[in-house]
């Protein structure tokens, strides 16, 4: 099905895509309810053959598998601590994927195993915060943008207030009050302060869409407010929101790592890259590999999500090319 559309749309997809999107979406929205087809299948057709999308997507897929089943890739427990494993010994990179191939940390735990098991925390927090922020931000942004007037004035002030709070400091203040901090505590803190960006984007997007002809047509056909919002406004306003959310995902993973690094993020016994990097600071002068390997994996993860977001943005908005 994407193939047929692809061959027709290939030549003209770039020039006509940007302007024609809303109209085409409205006409096409018939069979799959609420799902604009042409925009997304065009984007998918574009993305499939771009290495800047395929490579990060494959890395993220692999990270998801590691996050779900870290035990598939190592035989030792990340918490097994054997102090006869000397952390000062230079890791030998020859034993690929054996527990000692990246060396041991100061507790005699396998760095490789801890990196694998730490993946889950970063991925879960990144994805969960993004989902929460997208839902909450879209809701607030849609109400503010669609109803305007005093609703907009009120919600916009609330957005301004939350934007005024410094993100990292605010998250620290929330998290200090919990003695044990799990993935969900950190998710709550980051989502509580992070939803404003999505809300602003959604508001702008809805304001431009509510003046379009197909919304006027739906209204004159007697559609109710909820139907207009869910069937017409929301699907068409979603594209920029999803792009912003995808790019922000990498930022949430960074934020979790920074908080854990400061000792205010995930607490023991949770395993996270940021926490391991925090505990490795003391040894940086004598054994920097303890700090370096989790940092490299953390950076690759953030980079992959960023590149994925960038690629999707380019595909959804041909004007930006």
């Amino acid at each position: 099905m994407p193939e047929a559309r692809a061959t027709i749309g290939k030549k003209e997809a770039v020039p006509s895509g940007g302007g024609a999107v809303p109209a085409a979406v409205a006409v096409d929205a018939g069979p799959a309810p609420g799902k604009p087809r042409s925009l997304w299948s065009d984007a998918w057709h574009d993305l499939r053959r771009k290495p800047s999308f395929v490579i990060p997507a494959l890395i993220i897929l692999l990270l998801l598998v590691v996050a779900a089943f870290p035990g598939w890739f190592t035989s030792v427990s990340p918490r097994a601590a054997d102090l006869t494993n000397n952390y000062l010994r230079e890791p030998e990179l020859t034993h690929f994927f054996s527990p000692e191939w990246l060396g041991y940390n100061q507790q005699g735990q396998s760095i490789w195993a801890r990196m694998l098991y730490g993946t889950r925390a970063s991925i879960v927090i990144g994805v969960a915060v993004t989902v929460l922020v997208t839902v909450l931000g879209s809701l607030v942004g849609m109400l503010a943008g669609y109803f305007g007037g005093w609703v907009d004035a009120l919600l916009s002030r609330v957005i301004d207030i939350f934007l005024g709070i410094p993100f990292l400091l605010g998250a620290m203040v929330i998290l200090v009050s919990f003695d044990t901090r799990t993935e969900w505590t950190v998710t709550f803190a980051l989502a509580f302060l992070g939803w404003t960006t999505v809300a602003r984007v959604m508001r702008g997007s809805v304001i431009s869409i509510k003046q379009s002809d197909y919304v006027a047509a739906a209204r004159s056909l007697g559609a109710g407010t909820s139907r207009i919002l869910l069937r017409h406004v929301l699907p068409n306003a979603m594209a920029p929101v999803i792009v912003v959310a995808m790019i922000a995902l990498g930022g949430y993973i960074t934020a979790e790592a920074v908080l854990s690094f400061l000792g205010i993020g995930l607490s023991e016994p949770s395993i996270s890259w940021g926490g391991d990097i925090n505990r490795a600071q003391g040894q940086i002068r004598i054994a920097e590999h303890i700090l370096l390997y989790p940092s490299i994996l953390l950076s690759i993860t953030i980079l992959s999500f960023l590149m994925l977001g960038d690629a999707v943005r380019d595909a959804l908005d041909p004007k930006l090319r």
Binding site: R157, V158, D160, I161, F162, G164, I165, P166, F167, L168, L169, G170, M172, V173, I174, V176, S177, D179, G250, T254, A257, V258, F261, L262, I264, I277, Q281, I284, R285, E288, L291, S295, L298, S299, I300, I302, L303, L306, M307, L320
Partner: protein, 309 residues
């Protein structure tokens, strides 16, 4: 112009009250009693504890406490530390110079290097230089600031011995260079990308062709026409970012051992010193709001078509 400024100042009031209220509520909802902590392991003297609480106003209802705090704030009183009995404003003004110097240096690096590299990439869009700069920016965004900080500290600082790894004297700009570079890295990357994309957008504008056709030298075409027209979104970002740099200094100051605002707030947070935390955050919020206003006024300088009624 004057009326616009007054209107903007009035709009700031609810935002300021709302943000400080949220931080205040979160801070004072924390478990743990800092007054009780004054006695440590010893049994507290109940009467003395009650007297200290009454003196600091900690036994009032929370909303009244917030109201008193706000009234004090308007008069320039940021409250008193419980442990040391120091005025919070003194604590802030002791720590502020180091953070201001660090932030200023980081801001300078962000603006000069970011705009410079972004301009270079934009003018050579699609070429090797452009791709190199874009990749550098992605790298700077994806490596978290604490990793960059430790890399700078370990390699040029400890292993190669080019520069002192920690800051002993925050008035020495040379020692502040490494932490400022680390602090600036994320904003630097964003400024590069933003400058590049606006330059690419404006490069083919009609006024550029006109300027070239008039026979203006390349320097003038790029400097006066292209750059000035492309800077508005960059200036917006730089303005918002100044507040983020101050808040982000918390990590950099820890790694490089600088006694600034970030260290102060981090220690206060762990000691449950509510007044200090709320004071520092309120201060950063004020900085953030004032800069946002200044940025808006700066638009008119960059683009004379923008006027404020």
């Amino acid at each position: 112009m004057g009326r616009y400024v007054v209107r903007r100042l009035l709009q700031m009031i609810p935002v300021f009250i709302g943000s400080t209220f949220i931080i205040f509520m979160m801070m004072y909802a924390l478990p743990g009693d800092p007054v009780r902590a004054l006695w440590g392991e010893r049994a507290p003297d109940e009467a003395q504890m009650a007297a200290i609480k009454a003196d600091l106003g900690l036994d009032d209802p929370i909303l009244l406490q917030y109201w008193n705090y706000l009234v004090g704030l308007v008069q320039g009183d940021f409250g008193t530390q419980i442990q040391s009995r120091r005025e919070v404003i003194d604590v802030i003004s002791d720590a502020l110079p180091a953070t201001l110097r660090l932030t200023a240096l980081a801001f300078l690096i962000t603006a000069v290097v970011g705009i410079g590299l972004g301009l270079l990439a934009g003018l050579r869009a699609g070429k090797k230089t452009d791709r190199g700069i874009l990749f550098l920016s992605l790298l700077l965004i994806s490596v978290p600031v604490f990793v960059i900080g430790y890399l700078y500290q370990t390699y040029p600082g400890v292993k190669w011995g080019w520069i002192t790894p920690t800051v002993r004297d925050s008035e020495n700009w040379g020692e502040l260079l490494l932490p400022a570079l680390a602090l600036a890295s994320l904003s630097l990357a964003y400024v590069m990308r933003l400058t590049r994309s606006t330059i690419v957008e404006n490069r083919r504008a009609d006024y550029m062709r006109t300027a070239r056709a008039k026979g203006l030298p390349q320097r003038r075409v790029v400097g006066n026409h292209l750059l000035r027209n492309s800077l508005i979104p960059v200036v917006t970002f730089l303005g918002v970012d100044l507040g983020n740099l101050m808040a982000g200094a918390i990590v950099t100051e820890g790694i490089f051992n600088i006694n600034g605002i970030g260290r102060t707030v981090y220690e206060a947070l762990n000691a449950r010193e509510g007044a200090t935390v709320v004071g520092v955050v309120s201060f950063i919020i004020i900085v953030y709001l004032v800069i946002a206003l200044l940025v808006d006024l700066l638009y008119a300088v960059l683009d004379p078509r923008i006027r404020y009624a």
